[in-house]
């Protein structure tokens, strides 16, 4: 499958995003566009504003100024929420419920039939987790269940906050394969990580945040690499 070109119609359009916590500017004048069907790494040291940016894109928080458009939908609107998946630090799944019970509940919130649960678990190869309580899962299993939650409604934009944190090598590889599959299926993925090597050969682009400012925004990395070989 051909990697997506950077000239595609932008799916995500961020314009001069700024976010303050009190008087502290966590993000300053961040602008970028992402096309459909690309995987972009979001890098930067602790406190650079990566999680804040993902919160704004997911609609969990509002920008102090600036705008975010997902297609024609404003971030935070019901339409944008229906098209966005967000993998947070926490699983957003209740530990006293089984994976199926959690996902069935979320399926109802997204107006989906219960069959969506099996499909999402199959996408993450997590069918064996269905009857297990979330509180009893290992970190890697929980991450799989959380990713299944994100994929329930087949979002156009998938936001991942440190998806590889605390995972062993095998689980990291499994997750990398899953992300490549989703990207190839046309999903736009923005993944923050402290370890850029984990997205090497996988990411089509890189964004680097530093002290709330976007220092670098480069797309078309995979197509450039493919051209070299």
């Amino acid at each position: 499958m051909q990697p997506p070109t950077v000239n595609s119609q932008p799916l995500l359009h961020c314009d001069r995003l700024t976010r303050f916590y009190g008087i502290f500017p966590a993000l300053r004048e961040v602008s970028f566009q992402l096309p459909a069907g690309c995987l972009v790494g979001l890098y930067g040291p602790n406190g650079a504003g990566k999680s804040t940016l993902l919160h704004l894109l997911a609609g969990v928080r509002r920008p102090s100024s600036g705008s975010i458009l997902l297609g024609n939908a404003r971030a935070g609107s019901a339409e944008a929420r229906q098209r966005t998946g967000y993998l947070a630090h926490d699983s957003l799944l209740h530990p006293h419920l089984t994976v199926t019970e959690n996902l069935t509940f979320y399926a109802t919130l997204y107006g989906l039939p219960a069959t969506a649960v099996g499909k999402a678990l199959a996408q993450t190869r997590g069918e064996y987790l269905a009857a297990l309580k979330v509180g009893e899962l290992s970190q890697g299993m929980r991450q799989k269940a959380a990713l299944a939650r994100c994929l329930l409604h087949t979002p156009q934009l998938l936001l991942l906050d440190e998806p590889f944190a605390s995972l062993d090598r095998a689980t990291v590889e499994e997750l990398q394969q899953a992300l490549a599959g989703l990207r190839d299926a046309g999903m736009t993925i923005l993944a923050s990580t402290h370890t850029p090597q984990l997205l090497e050969g996988l990411a089509d682009g890189a964004m680097v945040l530093e002290r709330g400012r976007l220092r670098q925004c480069e797309l078309g990395l995979r197509s450039a690499e493919a051209g070299k070989h």
């Binding site: 969990v60 109802t108 939650r149």
Partner: protein, 224 residues
């Protein structure tokens, strides 16, 4: 119909969580029993005395127990940060809030169903009192507390002194409902007629605060 499904899913999930953990139920039952039993030691169990103070006493027990359930309404969403999960979804906030209202209501009514017969026995309540009137008052009063309490529980969830803030916010607002529920119960315990006036007041309170709670659900559930 979609909103109803969301409210129903929220309600059944909360009930399932409570059945599995019994976090609220045990604490509520303990508080309620404590109040009723201690007062039964303090007062002679005479029908005449019960007719005079029983209404207030019963609602003190219900209110204490209810505060536990109301506090847990949104604390239940803290493990795994499931509140963020709810708010990330496109589900209408009013539907989520309606599910929470009903789950608090069901939990409070369950405890009250256990407590009411015990109260009747410990305080020697006459079998000739109008039990139908008392039950209707309990239902209307519990809905008033469930709606206002759940709303303020959502409002105080991100504050540091949540457990203290909830009664401070709830009780002043709920005063008209508390007066009505105590007075109506008193009317039936003392067999001094019907409580139409207090019922109308309670019903009006229920309608107004349910509508306000649903209309303002977007504002109160906004985490930012």
């Amino acid at each position: 119909m979609a909103d109803f499904r969301i409210a129903w899913a929220t309600l059944t999930r909360d009930v399932r969580l409570e059945l599995r953990t019994r976090e609220s139920f045990n604490a509520m039952l303990f508080y309620a029993l404590l109040v009723v039993v201690i007062f039964s030691f303090a007062f002679e169990s005479e029908a005449e005395l019960t007719a005079r103070v029983g209404g207030g006493l019963l609602w003190v027990a219900f209110l204490f127990a209810g505060l536990v359930a109301l506090d847990r309404a949104f604390v239940r969403e803290m493990p795994g940060d499931t509140l963020t999960g709810l708010l990330l979804s496109p589900a209408p906030r009013a539907a989520l809030m309606a599910g929470k209202f009903v789950s608090s209501f069901v939990l409070m009514l369950t405890i009250e169903a256990v407590l009411l017969p015990l109260f009747a026995v410990l305080f020697n309540v006459s079998s000739e009192v109008h039990w139908g009137g008392i039950v209707l008052t309990v239902v209307l009063g519990t809905w008033a507390l469930a709606v206002t309490g759940t709303y303020f529980s959502a409002m105080s969830i991100h504050t540091r002194h949540r457990a203290l803030l909830l009664p401070l916010l709830l009780l002043p607002v709920a005063i008209p409902a508390i007066i009505s529920m105590v007075q109506a119960t008193q009317v039936f315990l003392s067999r001094s007629g019907v409580a139409n006036y207090w019922w109308k007041l309670l019903f009006g309170f229920d309608v107004v605060f349910t509508a306000l709670g649903l209309l303002l659900a977007d504002v109160v559930l906004d985490v930012d």
